[in-house]
């Protein structure tokens, strides 16, 4: 199967005076359309790995190829544009813009491209909100929604530009078990419907086991890599 993402000998060292190595020679590849989970204890380096994949952080050495493009050579602006078109993020703490409504938040990744907002675009954003079951509250300010609703809005936003890949860092870490279940079912259904590649960090083994592949990171190295 076609690889969407490849990491070659990725190392990450923090600090200049006191050096802390967080990742050691990571070699990984992800199939297009797969649903992957990364588990590991806090401080194991899993978030750093996800941030490097998401081009938010840079590897100290090694190469990261997304869709065959080596992102280590890109300028800050190229990376920003690339991130906007290719990657959707879902974070633990939702990170919606509280000044905007749910619908406006979903539209922001499109707004960043500075293209005219047509009726079709708004319909698409509404479609995404409908997909996550929020069509009734789309004009609510994001601060007036429950945690689960906010996270679903964040998912709808991540889908707005039809990214090839969605990266989620503990997307349910802040939610109760019912909402957790809903969110995972949602992510899986999106994965099946849009063939979007998912890489999801979780500390919940039960959740991780629902993925196609489980990667465990321990002390900056790959400890386990299981395909189901």
């Amino acid at each position: 199967m076609k690889k969407i993402l490849e990491l070659r000998n990725v190392n990450k060292i923090y600090g200049t005076d006191i050096k802390t190595q967080v990742l050691y020679d990571i070699n990984l590849a992800f199939d297009t359309g797969s649903f992957n989970s990364i588990i590991g204890q806090s401080g194991s380096g899993k978030s750093t790995l996800l941030n490097i994949i998401g081009t938010l952080d840079t590897a100290t050495s090694g190469q990261v190829l997304i869709d065959g493009n080596n992102i280590t050579d890109m300028s800050a602006n190229e990376l920003a544009d690339y991130r906007n078109k290719t990657i959707g993020f879902v974070f633990q703490f939702h990170y919606l813009l509280p000044e905007f409504t749910a619908l406006e938040n979903v539209l922001i990744p499109y707004n960043i491209q500075n293209k005219p907002v047509t009726k079709e675009v708004i319909d698409k954003a509404k479609e995404r909100l409908k997909l996550v079951g929020l069509e009734k509250v789309m004009n609510n300010p994001s601060t007036k929604m429950s945690g689960g609703q906010q996270q679903r809005t964040a998912i709808a936003r991540a889908l707005m530009n039809d990214p090839k890949m969605i990266l989620a860092d503990e997307p349910t870490g802040n939610l109760d078990s019912d909402s957790t279940e809903t969110i995972y079912e949602l992510l899986r259904s999106i994965n099946e419907e849009y063939k979007t590649t998912f890489i999801v960090i979780t500390h919940d083994r039960k959740i991780a086991e629902k993925a196609d592949r489980i990667i465990e990171i321990k002390d900056g190295k790959i400890n386990l890599d299981i395909y189901k």
């Binding site: 938010l56 991130r83 906007n84 990170y95 919606l96 509280p98 000044e99 500075n114 936003r157």
Partner: protein, 388 residues
């Protein structure tokens, strides 16, 4: 950029209290600037107007030995073409003489005016407290002080003794009050024609006096130079009011500088307050900036957010400040009044000064937003996401 503006507007409207507070801060700064500026300009204009508004601002004299100017009609035409700022020109024949009335005598400067032209400078017709302007031969207008001192009344006959010891009878046709004591007791005004006959100076004048338009009152030295360049500095010399009123000028200058200092400090305090509030805003909004960067917003666009915030705050602050400042100035002229109902200080409302103050406020606000803008562009998404 459009997105930057949109987010800036939303940031500002989502925290209305803070936004209004900043706008109010800028507005007060701008209004103080406009009020102080108008007050100082009004004071200066009033002072200048009172001092030199009714006197010659540039005076041309002859360099020749006899100190007289001939062919003056031609010369006046030449002068009026030499500089556009000259508004009034009047020929004068001055002669020192003695006034004798009954048993009293004193020195008198007999000024022969072309009445129509001199009226533009001295506003004589409005300064006459009694009687009329001299028109016919041997008619003279005297200062009000002489009336009180010697008990002269209208239609009385006085004798003018010239330096050639000639005595000429003249009829007093009126009294003027130029609001300057020395002039009121030393000047006698008659027609140019009469003065020329009296002192046997036919076709001659002693000087040409002129005034310039209001805006060029402080460049009379340059205008005088232009005039001299046209008519020839070998034959004529020019004296302008600035040379004659150096102490007034330095007083005005001191006032201008102190007013400028106040305005500069007002701007500095406005800049510092906007910059510090926007710097806090960057920290307040760092989560939003971080997530926007994760979604692929460019660093430059995040800078625009804060530059637009500065621009919007500056614009509305300046607008409110102008309204407040003009209102304050208006109230001042309305309520700080003399017993006769005239304002204590006439404010000078200059539109160009107000617009300039507004522009300075907007520019200062954008300048103040520059540091926060740079700061936001340097914010790293990963730091915010990692630190939550």
């Amino acid at each position: 950029m459009k997105l930057g503006l949109k987010i800036a507007l939303r940031f500002l409207t989502s925290n209305k209290g803070q936004t209004i507070l900043i706008i109010l801060g800028i507005a007060i700064g701008v209004s103080v600037q406009i009020f102080i500026g108008s007050l100082i300009q009004g004071l200066q204009k009033g002072l200048v107007d009172k001092t030199i508004g009714n006197s010659s601002q540039i005076t041309i004299n002859s360099n020749l030995e006899d100190r007289y100017i001939t062919d003056y009609d031609q010369l006046i035409d030449k002068i009026s073409l030499s500089d556009d700022n000259i508004t009034k020109i009047s020929p004068v024949l001055d002669n020192q003489a003695f006034l004798s009335y009954e048993d009293n005598s004193q020195s008198l400067l007999v000024r022969g005016f072309d009445m129509d032209k001199a009226d533009g400078i001295y506003d004589i017709s409005n300064r006459i407290v009694e009687g009329k302007l001299p028109t016919a031969e041997n008619e003279i207008l005297l200062g009000i002080n002489l009336k009180d001192e010697y008990g002269i009344s209208i239609d009385d006959e006085i004798s003018i003794l010239t330096v050639d010891r000639k005595s000429i009878k003249s009829t007093v046709v009126g009294f003027f009050d130029l609001k300057v004591s020395t002039l009121n007791s030393n000047w006698g005004i008659t027609t140019l024609k009469n003065a020329q006959t009296m002192f046997e100076n036919e076709e001659k004048i002693s000087s040409i006096e002129m005034q310039v338009n209001e805006d060029s009152i402080f460049i009379t030295d340059e205008i005088a130079l232009n005039v001299l360049n046209t008519i020839g500095s070998d034959k004529y010399k020019a004296v302008n009011w600035k040379e004659q009123n150096e102490s007034l000028l330095s007083g005005l200058e001191g006032q201008s500088i102190s007013s400028l200092m106040i305005q500069v400090f007002v701007i500095i305090s406005v800049v510092i307050s906007i910059a510090s509030i926007l710097a806090i805003t960057v920290i307040q909004k760092s989560r939003q900036i971080g997530i926007l960067k994760a979604m692929g917003i460019r660093n430059s666009t995040t800078s625009y957010i804060f530059l637009f915030e500065g621009l919007i705050l500056g614009f509305f602050g300046a607008l409110a400040g102008i309204l407040l400042g003009v209102g304050l100035s208006f109230a001042f002229t309305k309520f700080a009044i003399n017993a006769d109902g005239t304002p204590v200080v006439d404010l000078y409302i200059s539109y160009s000064f107000i617009i300039l103050s507004g522009f300075i406020a907007v520019a200062a606000s954008i300048l103040a937003a520059l540091m926060p803008a740079i700061r936001s562009s340097k914010l790293n998404a990963i730091d915010i996401i990692r630190n939550n």
